[in-house]
């Protein structure tokens, strides 16, 4: 079955600094989703990547999927306190129903 390894598990950065979170699937995937979760709340959809080499950006967050679809990264430029939270990647294997398998999450803390 599909498993996703996220790294790092937690990250503390100074406000204004750049950071990168990685997501590595154990098997071939159809699509890769990035979500953000704040404590006590649901997941907020950020971006969906389906093609090898695809890159999408929204405000200061950029997500990439490598050419072979074997790793994805989420990059935040000039981090702000509002970026704090848990970032989760989810994989869709493309078989039958869209069954998303999630990584364990990366907890991001932004220090002022």
């Amino acid at each position: 079955s599909q498993e996703l390894e996220q790294s790092p598990q937690s990250l503390i950065v100074q406000e204004g600094k750049n950071l990168t979170i990685n997501c590595t699937p154990s098997k071939t995937l159809y699509g890769l989703y990035w979500y953000k979760q704040k404590y006590g709340e649901g997941l907020i959809f950020l971006m969906m990547l389906q093609k090898g080499g695809e890159e999408k950006s929204h405000e200061k967050i950029t997500a990439k999927l490598d050419e072979k679809k074997q790793q994805s990264s989420l990059h935040i430029t000039a981090s702000q306190p509002s970026h704090a939270g848990i970032y989760l990647c989810g994989a869709d294997n493309g078989q039958g129903a869209q069954k998303l398998v999630f990584g364990q999450g990366t907890r991001l803390t932004i220090n002022p």
Partner: protein, 113 residues
Amino acid sequence: EAGVAQSPRYKIIEKRQSVAFWCNPISGHATLYWYQQILGQGPKLLIQFQNNGVVDDSQLPKDRFSAERLKGVDSTLKIQPAKLEDSAVYLCASSLSIRQPQHFGDGTRLSIL
């Protein structure tokens, strides 16, 4: 556009009791999902509906968990009887159709004493 609505937000029960959660998806979303998220882990899919039919329930502990989606809109998830290991956040999500982004509610935090 109203988001996915879930209730209650919190529930505390004793083991062996029963509990039910309710979800109202985004209007027009045909696909509805229930996930279980244990503290420190990512969400795990329990069951997926397409309209009012079950698409995937392979990870639903059917001896104690049940779910239904009446008329292809609202859904309820029930646990009977609850065990200590059921303590988790239960998240409901919906999407326009399969392979579209899923949108999540704020979840129900269940504590089993």
